[in-house]
């Protein structure tokens, strides 16, 4: 598999098309945070909304458009963290960040288990210019969680 094919694995292309979590949802009577992020290189934008129910990430939804890497990444994110305890979501986010910094090397089994489909993004680490694309949704998620927390306080 070439580096290009490794980056554009089928699971990534499938997620880019499926777009899990696409379409902003009103999470109802829980703490909500929303974040708008822009990839300054290409002008891609994403708005991502998180609903927290106590310590659970009860809802993740988003709107935006971008390259297949950014779209697949936010789709995987939505599937991975929705319904999970906030602590698990944060661990997953940290593992994904480490995967991006790994220069294309796989992570240990524990973190790969946590990442599930997101391990397919390992090939992105070989292309520094694309890490920003893969991180766009995760940056929005991190920010939205903080904003939702502020609501709570």
């Amino acid at each position: 598999m070439s580096s290009l094919e490794q980056m554009y694995q089928q699971v990534i292309m499938d997620h880019a098309r499926a777009g899990h979590g696409r379409g902003l949802k009103d999470p109802g009577l829980i703490h909500v945070g929303e974040s708008h992020q822009v990839n300054t290189t290409c002008g891609d934008e994403i708005t991502l909304r998180v609903g927290l129910d106590g310590d659970t990430v009860s809802s993740v939804s988003w709107e935006g458009q971008g390259c297949s890497i950014s779209q697949a990444s936010v789709s995987v994110l939505s599937e991975l963290v929705e319904g999970e305890p906030l602590a698990t979501a944060e661990e997953t986010m940290e593992a994904f960040r480490e995967l991006m910094q790994s220069k294309g090397e796989p992570l240990d089994d524990d973190r790969e288990d946590l990442l599930g489909d997101a391990t397919a993004f390992v090939g992105v680490g070989k292309y520094p210019a694309r890490i920003k694309c893969a991180m766009l949704g995760w940056s929005a998620f991190k920010d939205a969680v903080i904003r939702a927390g502020k609501d709570q306080a």
Binding site: S3, M7, Y8, M13, R17, G43, D44, C67, S68, Y127
Partner: protein, 424 residues
Amino acid sequence: MHLPDLRADFPLLTRTVRNGKDLVYLDSGATSQRPQAVLDAVRDFEERHNGAVARGAHLLAEEATGLFEAARSSVATLVGASYDEIVWTENATAAINLVASGIGNATSGIGGEEVARFRIGPGDEICVTETEHHANLVPWQQLAIRTGATLRWIPVDDLGRLVLDELETLVTERTKVLAFTHVSNVTGVISPVATLVARAKAVGALTVLDACQSVPHLPVDVKDLDVDFAAFSGHKMLGPTGIGSLYGRKELLDALPPSVFGGGAVTIVSMESTAWHEAPTRFEAGTQPVAQAVGMGAAAEYLMELGMERVEAHEREIGHLLRQGVSEIPGVRLLGPVGSADERDVIGLAAFVVDGVHPHDVGQLLDDRGVAVRVGHHCAQPLHRRFGVTGSTRASAHVYTTPADAEAFLSALAEVPAFFGVSV
């Protein structure tokens, strides 16, 4: 071809990329590669002539000053200016900001009677165009905010050509500055400079030309164009980064207040006040990027040696190959006119959108095939918005670009839709 194959002059072009593939460099609109003559000039300066320009009382200082000023003369000759009408700046962005900030400083009270013509305020207007690079939009937009003037703009048509139907209502006696690009960095469309300058002159507006995509690619004579200011960068015209030039009519440069203040730019300084040097010195406070200036001078000499008429003919031919080829690939939409090789209003590059595939993904596949292009909005968000897209992919040529480069690019581009599962 109008130019011989010049690849041997450019050491970087001989390297390979991505597992040994030949480099097909089509990102010259963003930054060009440097010929050996430029690399040698910079190195020779550093190894043999480095000294404090216009300050030292020793041989090296004399030599460095001589080379610094000779480089200024080379750049001036390239664009038909007098040597004292060329100001060294960090880049073209800094050159445009120098004019905008100078006008802002004049407005806020710096300078005497001589700056009256630069003052603007509520009721005055600044006019730009919808096709501008952010570097020739944002400084004017912010100047308008700072001074209370109103920003207006000339729209473009579906092919990115300026629509001049409303020119007389957009550029009026209220207009103090008309700033526009010579060549669009997205469509390659050449602006109707004569028409715009004539209108500006009729209403007494200053003209500021973004010449970043023209000076490297076609003959530019600022006196023939009759603009008041023109900005261009070194690194897009085969020179180093960190250096650019502002051309300004001497009498305007001698009146415009500086916006960077410090040593070397002044005549008499007291604790209360300062008198500025004549141009260009008044704009060159602090130690300048001397080796880079020398490199930019060498780049100007290299281009003049090739002959700008031949360069233009070459760029038209390659640009046409790119645009024609792109427009013939199913599922790919060219931004701007296809034009013909001898058409006067478009040159040097092709920006396009592949249906259903994001520019970043397009660029990634091309990169895998050894083809270097630019992706994104190319610092021209309003123009992309006008075309109904967020970004595009751009292939841009220079003197070293060959028809074989265009073919390699087009053949890789043709693979894109299928690779990303888009049926055309």
